[in-house]
């Protein structure tokens, strides 16, 4: 996280934490309400994952301070996400090949 840890800076952080908390609570309710929308399964999955990703970004960015984190840590995470998608898509390619999609 940023090295600026003066009293004013921390109090500013606290204001941000409260706002993020409010946003997360609202988005949780929105997630539940969105599940009742009359949409197709794929649209429902897309919508739910978009909202979850926004919530996850708020937690990672502000509570975990990734927004001001050192580049070393950011690159470790980028590499992890790349490997996660490789892990996800390799068998997916194999699956779609088997069922001739």
């Amino acid at each position: 996280m940023s090295d600026d840890h003066s009293t004013e800076s921390i109090q500013e952080h606290i204001r941000v934490y409260i706002m993020v908390f409010g946003a997360l609570a609202v988005l949780t309710v929105v997630t539940v309400l969105a599940s009742y929308l009359e949409v197709s399964t794929s649209e429902g999955i897309f919508l739910a994952l978009i909202i979850a990703s926004v919530k996850a970004s708020l937690v990672a960015g502000y509570f975990m301070h990734l927004i001001s984190e050192k580049n070393t840590i950011i690159w470790i995470l980028v590499l992890t996400v790349v490997f996660f998608f490789i892990m996800l898509f390799l068998p997916l390619i194999s699956y779609t090949d088997q069922v001739n999609i």
């Binding site: 908390f21 949780t28 997630t31 909202i51 979850a52």
Partner: protein
């Protein structure tokens, strides 16, 4: 010294992303291979209101955890104790609600062996629950005098340890943010 511990926890969290990522990947393939509508039908056995409350409880625990760290930065130890206590209480409430969810399933003779959906549901939420218990053990340590006494001798090191604990806890919250819609709402 501070960066080493943060680098360490982030590398650990990267391995955790792969662990939960592997299980999410398993969920996707099991769902693709299941008869159409099978997962959605089994998901109706779960309680959305209880899971929504649990999501709000876990989000609250995350904000109280970060407030505990901020209190230490402001050199306000009593507030740290209060916020860490709230975090512990929230994590305990989460487990109690999860206990009621599990026992409700068992009383209806629904077990991991009942269906593919239930197998992956109990695996994912069970592993997540174990992470909650692990976090609680460390929280109790840093809340009780045995761990908290470090504040008197090495306040900066103690603050750093609480920050590292916070990073782990936010990750546990982050996993639940994806588990909730994937298991309960889709």
């Amino acid at each position: 010294m501070w960066i080493n511990s943060k680098l360490g926890i982030w590398i650990f969290l990267a391995s955790e992303i792969m662990l939960f990522g592997g299980l999410f990947s398993a969920y996707i393939f099991l769902r693709l291979a299941a008869p159409p509508g099978d997962f959605a039908r089994w998901a109706t056995e779960l309680s959305v209101p209880l899971a929504t409350v649990n999501t709000l409880v876990l989000i609250s625990s995350s904000v109280s955890m970060v407030m505990a760290w901020a209190s230490l930065k402001l050199k306000d130890f009593p507030k740290y104790k209060m916020y860490m206590g709230i975090t512990l209480l929230c994590s305990f409430i989460f487990l109690v609600i999860k206990y009621f969810e599990y026992t409700s399933k068992f009383s209806h003779h629904i077990y991991p062996s009942s269906s593919t959906f239930m197998a992956i549901y109990f695996t994912l939420t069970g592993l997540h629950g174990i992470h909650i218990i692990g976090g609680m053990i460390v929280m109790i340590y840093f809340w009780l005098p045995i761990g908290a006494k470090m504040w008197d001798s090495q306040p900066e090191l103690f603050t750093n340890r609480v920050e590292v604990l916070g990073l782990y806890w936010h990750f546990v919250d982050l996993v639940w943010i994806f588990l909730f819609p994937v298991l309960y709402l889709l």
